[in-house]
C-alpha cells in the first residue's frame, strides 16, 4: 500500500492505504474521527463534509489521493468546548438543530462560506448550505446561527 501524507486538523498524518479509497472511510475508520458522518456515500447530503484547503467537500466522495499534501479540517479541527469556533457557539446560542446528525457537515459548509465571505446575506447563507440536507427542519435556525457567527467574528 502506498503511503499518503496530508495535514489533518493541523497535524501531519501518514496513512498506508488504497489511494482510491474514500477520505471518509479513513477518517471514521483508522483515524477514529467520527465528526464527519456517513449519510449517502454519493455526495448528495453533505453530512460528511470536511474542509479541503478552504473548500467544503464531501469526504465520502473524495479519494485519498486527492488529499495528498493538502490540509484537511474536520469538525473536530474547527473548535472544541475550550476553544470553540464562533459557529459552534452560535449554533448553541440559537439551539440550531434537532437531531444534529447533519450539523457537523453544515458547520463545515458554513465555515467555508465565512472564510470567503465574512458578511453574507441571508440568501447567500442559504445558497452556501443548499447542498447540505437537514431532515428535521432546523434550516432557519441554522441560517440565523451562521449570521450570528459572522457578526461575532466581525466584532472581534
Amino acid at each position: 500500500m502506498p503511503s499518503i501524507r496530508f495535514r489533518l486538523n493541523g497535524v501531519e498524518t501518514d496513512v498506508d492505504a488504497d489511494p482510491d479509497s474514500s477520505l471518509l472511510s479513513m477518517l471514521r475508520g483508522r483515524l477514529r474521527m467520527t465528526g464527519p458522518h456517513f449519510g449517502c456515500g454519493a455526495d448528495e447530503c453533505g453530512a460528511c463534509n470536511v474542509l479541503l484547503g478552504d473548500r467544503a467537500v464531501a469526504s465520502c466522495d473524495t479519494p485519498l489521493w486527492a488529499v495528498a499534501g493538502r490540509e484537511v479540517t474536520t469538525i473536530e479541527g474547527l473548535g472544541n468546548e475550550r476553544e470553540p469556533h464562533p459557529l459552534q457557539q452560535a449554533f448553541i446560542a440559537e439551539q440550531a438543530l434537532q437531531c444534529g446528525y447533519c450539523v457537523s457537515g453544515i458547520l463545515i459548509s458554513a465555515a467555508a462560506l465565512l472564510a470567503r465571505n465574512p458578511n453574507p446575506a441571508d440568501a447567500e447563507v442559504r445558497a452556501a448550505l443548499d447542498r447540505n440536507l437537514c431532515r428535521c427542519g432546523s434550516h432557519n435556525r441554522m441560517v440565523r446561527a451562521v449570521l450570528r457567527a459572522a457578526q461575532a467574528m466581525a466584532s472581534r
Binding site: 453530512a47 447533519c102 458547520l107 440536507l133 431532515r135 441560517v143
Partner: protein, 712 residues
C-alpha cells in the same frame, strides 16, 4: 415549601401505573447527582431536556445535577414506544409525580433528623435548610432512604407558579456534544474488538435469494464470516470497508427470484379503492335537520407513499455471550424490539438486553428495528465479538417502511344557503402501524427472509381511543349536524407501510381543511370566519384567531401570491395548531412564509416547542412540495436523494410560531401538530393565488397542470 397546591391526582399517570417502583425512575448518588431514568428516548425532539427540567423543578435541584439515563431493558421503566407526541404527556407526568413523592419522602426524613417540621424546611439545589442554619441534603440522606417502594399518588406536584424551570427555554442538554462532535450517535460508537456487518438485499420487492456465489466475498481481505439463512444473507468483516467490498462481491454472485408485483404508481387511488379491505365505521352523528340538502359537493384527495428519509442510514450493534445477546439500537421502543427479537430467536426475553443509543432524527417506524435484528443475526457468526451493522442509503430509502398512501373521499350535502347539513369522509389506505412487539409474529424485515420465515405483518390501525391510524383526525371538530366517517384498510400490502409522523392525520387534515375552504368559498364566506363560526372549543378558536391576527389576515391579493389557512387539533386530543401560509408562484410553487399559532397546554420548554413546530412545518412543506415514493412494477426506484428530493435551504419558508400560554393545562406534545394544518394551508394558498384546487399531493408542476386541466 410544601405549601398549598392543587388537589392530589386520583390515579397515577399511565406510565407510573405501569412502572410503579420509585427507584426505577429516580436515584441519588452520594456525589450529588440525581439519576433520572425515563422509558422514552431522544429521537431528535429534545425530550431528554424537557424531562430533566420537570425533574429538577419538582426536586428543587439544579438541572446540572440531573443525569438522564438512556433507556435499556436492563433497568428502565417500560414506557412502550416513543411516539405519538406522548412523551411529555406520559413520561413527563410520571416523572413529575415520582419526583413530587420522592421530595416528600426526603423532606419527612430530613424533618425527623433535624427535629423541625417539614413545612419549616426549604430545598435549594438539593440542600434542605431550616431555622438556625440546620441543613441536610438528598445526597446525605440518600443512603438511608429506600426508593424500592411503589408510588402512591398521594404526593402533590407543585403548582405551575411554583416551578422555576418549566416554562423556560432551558438550552438542550445534548446540543454541545453535537456541535463539538463528541461521539453520541450509535453510528459513532466503537467497542473493543468490534466487527462490521452488511446485509444483502434485492431491489426487487419480496424477491427470494435463489443462489449465492461466495468465492468473490471470501477473497476480500478481513472477511470474518458469510451468513445465510434462506433469503437473509450478509457478511461480517474486520473493517467497514472490507464489509462493503465483500457485500459488493456477494451481490455480483447472487441470483434472485421474481418478486411481488407493485401497483401502478400513476393510478394509485384506483388501486387503493380496488383492493380487499376491512371497513370500519369510525363515527356517525345525526341531528334532526333544520334544512334539506339542496346539492352535494364531492372531492377525492390523495397522498402518496412518503419515506422517512432519515438523514442517517439505520445502524445497530449486537454482541452475543453464549445464549444471551446485547443490542444497541436507536429503536423507539426497546422493550417492544426485545419482544420481537425473542420471537425470531426463540429465546426468552430475559436473554436479550436492548439499550437505546441516539440515532439521527426519527419520524416514526423506520428501519431502526430492522437493522437491530440484522446485527443480532450477523453477530451470531462473530464468536462473541460485537458487530456493527449499517444500512446503505439505498436500502434506507427503499426497504424501510413507508408512510401509507391514501385516497380520501369527502362529500358535503349543502342546504340552500350553502351550509353543511351532512358530511361524509371515507379513506382507503394501508394500515399506518406495523410496529414491533405488538403481535404474535415479529414485524422485523429479516424475520420474513429466513429459511423458516415469519409472514410479513400487514399494517393495521390503532383504535380511535389511541388516536386512530388511517382515520386519525377524521372526526370533525366542526359542529356539522350529521356525519359518517368510514375507514377502509387494505388487506394487501405490496409496499410496506407503518407509522410515519401523524399517521393518517396529514392526509385527513389536508382533505378536510381544503374541502371546508371550498365550501366557504362557494358561500362567498371568509374561510377564517367560516371556521370560527363552526367551532365551539375556545382553544381552537383562539389559535385560529392568533394565526390570523399575526398574518394580518387577510392580506390584499397580489398577482402570483396567495394566502391560505389550515387548522387541526392533533388526534383531536393533542395540540391545537393553526397555520396561515403565504405562497408564491405560477408553475413552481414556493412557500414564502408560514405563520403558526399553537396551544400545547403547559409549554415545558417553549423554545423546544417552537423548534418542534418549526421543524414539523418545514418537513410538512417538503412533503407537500417535493415528496413521493416512486416505484415501477417491481422495485422502489426513489432510493437516493436525487430520486427522492427533499426541501433545501433556499426553498425553506420563513416560519413564525406563537405559543398560546396555558401554564395550568396538562402539557401535550408538539412534534406532529403542524403537519396537517401546514399541508392544508399551502394547498388553500395555491387556490388563492391561482384559482385551482390541487387535491393530489405533492403539489408540483405536474399536479398543478393536472388540476388545471381537470377544472377547465
Amino acid at each position: 415549601m410544601t405549601g398549598a397546591a392543587a388537589s392530589p391526582p386520583r390515579q397515577l399517570p399511565v406510565s407510573l401505573a405501569a412502572n410503579p417502583m420509585l427507584s426505577s425512575w429516580v436515584r441519588f448518588s452520594a456525589e450529588g447527582q440525581v439519576m433520572v431514568s425515563p422509558g422514552k428516548v431522544e429521537i431528535g425532539q429534545g425530550i431528554v431536556t424537557a424531562l430533566a427540567q420537570i425533574a429538577a423543578d419538582e426536586l428543587d435541584v439544579d438541572i446540572g445535577r440531573v443525569q438522564m439515563i438512556r433507556a435499556s431493558t436492563a433497568a428502565s421503566p417500560n414506557e412502550g414506544v416513543t411516539s405519538g407526541s406522548l412523551s411529555v404527556q406520559q413520561s413527563g407526568r410520571a416523572i413529575r409525580q415520582v419526583c413530587a413523592e420522592v421530595r416528600q419522602i426526603f423532606l419527612e426524613l430530613a424533618s425527623q433528623r433535624l427535629g423541625v417540621d417539614a413545612n419549616a424546611l426549604d430545598i435549594q439545589d438539593g440542600t434542605m435548610t431550616g431555622p438556625g442554619n440546620i441543613s441536610t441534603s438528598y445526597w446525605e440522606l440518600a443512603a438511608d432512604v429506600s426508593l424500592e417502594r411503589r408510588a402512591t399518588a398521594g404526593a402533590v406536584p407543585k403548582l405551575a407558579t411554583q416551578r422555576r424551570l418549566a416554562g423556560n427555554s432551558v438550552p438542550r442538554l445534548d446540543i454541545p456534544d453535537k456541535v463539538f462532535a463528541r461521539p453520541r450517535f450509535i453510528h459513532d460508537c466503537a467497542f473493543a474488538g468490534m466487527l462490521h456487518g452488511r446485509v444483502l438485499r434485492s431491489g426487487v420487492c419480496a424477491a427470494k435469494l435463489v443462489a449465492m456465489q461466495e468465492d468473490g466475498a471470501r477473497a476480500v481481505a478481513g472477511l470474518v464470516a458469510i451468513v445465510r439463512d434462506g433469503s437473509f444473507a450478509g457478511v461480517v468483516s474486520e473493517t467497514e470497508a472490507g464489509a462493503e467490498a465483500a457485500l459488493q462481491a456477494l451481490r455480483r454472485g447472487a441470483a434472485w427470484s421474481a418478486g411481488e408485483t407493485l401497483p401502478d404508481e400513476a393510478r394509485l387511488a384506483g388501486w387503493l379503492k380496488a383492493q380487499p379491505v376491512e371497513s370500519t365505521v369510525i363515527d356517525t352523528r345525526t341531528t334532526p335537520r333544520t334544512a334539506a340538502a339542496s346539492r352535494t359537493m364531492r372531492r377525492q384527495y390523495t397522498r402518496p407513499y412518503l419515506a422517512h428519509a432519515s438523514i442517517a442510514p439505520s445502524c445497530a450493534i449486537a454482541q452475543w455471550a453464549g445464549d444471551r445477546v446485547r443490542v444497541w439500537t436507536h429503536s423507539q421502543g426497546v422493550y417492544l424490539l426485545r419482544a420481537d427479537l425473542a420471537l425470531v430467536l426463540g429465546l426468552p426475553v430475559e436473554n436479550i438486553t436492548v439499550e437505546h443509543v441516539e440515532g439521527a432524527g426519527c419520524y416514526g417506524h423506520n428501519a431502526a428495528d430492522d437493522v437491530a435484528l440484522d446485527a443480532v443475526l450477523l453477530a451470531k457468526a462473530a464468536a462473541g465479538r460485537p458487530v456493527r451493522v449499517q444500512w446503505s442509503r439505498q436500502d434506507e430509502m427503499s426497504q424501510a417502511p413507508f408512510g401509507a398512501a391514501m385516497a380520501i373521499d369527502l362529500e358535503a350535502d349543502l342546504d340552500a344557503e350553502g351550509e353543511i347539513v351532512d358530511w361524509r369522509h371515507s379513506i382507503w389506505s394501508n394500515g399506518h402501524a406495523a410496529r414491533p412487539g405488538r403481535a404474535a409474529a415479529p414485524a422485523l424485515l429479516a424475520g420474513t427472509e429466513l429459511a423458516n420465515p415469519f409472514a410479513r405483518t400487514i399494517s393495521t390501525n390503532p383504535p380511535q381511543a389511541n388516536g386512530g391510524g388511517g382515520d386519525r383526525n377524521t372526526i370533525p371538530l366542526y359542529d356539522f349536524p350529521c356525519w359518517t366517517i368510514e375507514s377502509h384498510r387494505l388487506k394487501t400490502m405490496p409496499i410496506r407501510t407503518s407509522a410515519l409522523r401523524t399517521l393518517g392525520a396529514q392526509g385527513n387534515v389536508f382533505a378536510i381543511e381544503c374541502f371546508l375552504d371550498e365550501v366557504a368559498a362557494a358561500r362567498g364566506e371568509d374561510p377564517v370566519d367560516f371556521r370560527l363560526r363552526h367551532l365551539t372549543d375556545p382553544r381552537a378558536q383562539d389559535v385560529i384567531r392568533a394565526a390570523a391576527r399575526r398574518a394580518n389576515w387577510k392580506p390584499e391579493p397580489q398577482p402570483g401570491r396567495g394566502h391560505g389557512i389550515g387548522f387541526a387539533r392533533y388526534k383531536n386530543t393533542g395540540a391545537y395548531c393553526a397555520v396561515v401560509a403565504e405562497i408564491e408562484g405560477a408553475e413552481d410553487i414556493s412557500v414564502r412564509r408560514l405563520t403558526i399559532a399553537v396551544d400545547v397546554g403547559e409549554a415545558i420548554n417553549p423554545d423546544g416547542v417552537i423548534n418542534q413546530i418549526e421543524g414539523g412545518a418545514i418537513q410538512a412543506t417538503s412533503w407537500v412540495l417535493k415528496e413521493r415514493v416512486r416505484f415501477d412494477r417491481q422495485r422502489i426506484t426513489s432510493n437516493s436523494w436525487s430520486a427522492y428530493p427533499i426541501l433545501r435551504f433556499s426553498e425553506v419558508p420563513e416560519v413564525q410560531v406563537e405559543i398560546l400560554a396555558r401554564p395550568d393545562i396538562e402539557p401535550v406534545g408538539a412534534g406532529e401538530a403542524a403537519h396537517g394544518p401546514v399541508t392544508a394551508a399551502i394547498a388553500n394558498a395555491v387556490f388563492d393565488a391561482l384559482g385551482v384546487r390541487v387535491c393530489d399531493l405533492p403539489i408540483t408542476r405536474d399536479s398543478l397542470i393536472a388540476a388545471m386541466e381537470a377544472s377547465a
